[in-house]
Amino acid sequence: MAAPEGPETFTLLPLHLDAETKALSSPNTNLADHLDELNRFHRHIVALDTPNQNIPPPAPVNPKRSVQIGKLRESGNASFKKGAFAEAVKMYDLAIRMALDRPPWEASGLVREELSALHGNRAQAMMGQQAWPEGALDAKISTEMKRVGNVKGWWRRGQCLKEMGRLEEARDWLRQGVEFERAGPEKANLGELEALLRDVEGGLAAKAKA
């Protein structure tokens, strides 16, 4: 099994093909992860409506899914404005799930952009419910997906950390955010971030005095 294969050889693996679902399986348990992913690819390929089910290039994605995600996001935003935070979170959840379930070969830049916005919105809705840990995490994911041009994301996590009393963490986080955003396209909004940072630093100083 461990023998290396040259360019001309390969190791024959015991595979099993289900006639109905065309799902692959193998008695060899080491292959389970690979085959699971393969079957997931396969489902996406079967769902394609391109001629001959050829896999399209990554760049222009199927607009259907983007439209659906956009709709879910809009209804989430509407609920948020009405103050129905739980409802908004539900909508954002659905949208995030849809974005994650895009065919795997679609442009990752787009996926990043979408997830950043959705997680950011969900963070805001979580903050509305005072669910600080959840909000902090969503904001972190949002900034991880999009580091520059995401002042809101940095601000939200900073705010959540501050609310939880994790002032040192909040300060470090906000400093990092200011660092990233200084050269970014949202320079104009940097003031909010700096204001929060001053706030947190003030809190820390007061704590040190007490």
Binding site: M1, A2, P4, E5, P7, F10, T11, L12, L13, L15, H16, L17, D18, A19, E20, K22, L24, L31, H34, L35, E37, L38, N39, F41, H42, I45, V46, N52, Q53, N54, I55, P57, P58, L100, P104, W105, S108, V111, L115, Q124, M127, G128, Q130, W132, P133, E134, A136, L137, K140, I141, E144, K152, W155, R156, Q159, E163, M164, G165, N189, E192
Partner: protein, 272 residues
């Protein structure tokens, strides 16, 4: 010429009378020393070339053998094995159910090929990242030559592998070979993205538990403060147990009110 040499012989071997006398009879076998004279250098050349050749071939064989004994850079290429196994799969034997498949469907093969390309991309990324560091290490002599040989072999194999995948892809759909690695690259990026999100998501539970704990602690503090206040104000009118539950309720209310106000301010900021 011949005579002249004979005469010098005569001069040197003066005491040898018989040699002198037969000197005239020696002229016919003159070609003989010519051939023996040629035999020696040719034998010399043959032996020389032969030994060089055999040395080089043995040396080369040994080197090939040693190279093949070198540990491969990467572990087994499992996805390649899956793809090739699928090509060699006898579908009727491998599938069950009422209707037997006459052949492995193209969609499955495409998925398998795509998976193989993703693995290739991951390997190429690894090789590219390792190359500059490895080069400097080899130049400084910090690592053995063997490692470098292994690396080069991995690179060569990778090149063949990529070509093979492109050919296979073109066989499924014209021009797929040109974009399959683009797709594979995006898949790889997406996989990393999802892994990162899952990692972060895993932090949530401990974070939440920590916050619950802390909030309970804050509530306790509030309760104690309130208890102290009420102990000052109202003496012993209420029984201690009843007061305790009372102040607990108060604490919850206060706790819930405080951050809500802060949130109100925060929301406005966020909406800007």
């Amino acid at each position: 010429m011949d005579n002249a040499t004979n005469s010098t012989f005569n001069g040197t071997f003066d005491g040898n009378g018989t040699f002198n006398g037969t000197s005239g009879a020696f002229t016919p076998p003159v070609p003989k020393p010519f051939w023996t004279g040629l035999l020696l250098p040719t034998a010399y050349l043959i032996i020389l070339i032969g030994s060089l050749y055999s040395f080089s071939s043995v040396y080369r064989q040994r080197q090939i053998a040693r190279a093949s004994k070198l540990e491969p850079w990467f572990p087994q290429h499992v996805t390649r094995n899956i793809y090739l196994s699928l090509l060699h799969l006898d579908p009727e034997a491998a599938s069950d159910g009422e209707k037997k498949l006459s052949k492995v469907p193209d969609s499955v093969l495409k998925a398998a090929l795509l998976k193989r390309a993703v693995e290739d991309i991951q390997r190429i990324v690894q090789l590219r990242q390792a190359k500059p560091a490895l080069q400097t290490l080899v130049q400084r002599g910090s690592v053995g030559d063997e490692l470098w040989q292994r690396f080069q072999r991995a690179e060569q194999e990778m090149e063949l592998e990529v070509k093979d995948v492109v050919n296979e892809a073109n066989a499924f759909a014209p021009n797929w070979g040109q974009v399959i690695f683009q797709s594979a690259n995006e898949i790889n990026q997406n996989i990393m993205l999802k892994k990162r999100i899952a990692e972060m998501q895993a932090e949530l539970d401990s974070d939440k538990a920590w916050w619950e704990n802390k909030r309970a602690g804050i509530q306790d503090q509030f309760m104690k403060e309130l208890e102290g206040d009420s102990a000052d104000a109202a003496a012993a009118i209420n029984p201690p147990v009843g007061r305790k539950t009372n102040s607990d309720d108060d604490a919850v209310l206060v706790e819930a009110g405080g951050p809500a106000q802060a949130q109100g301010g925060g929301k406005k900021k966020g909406k800007k």
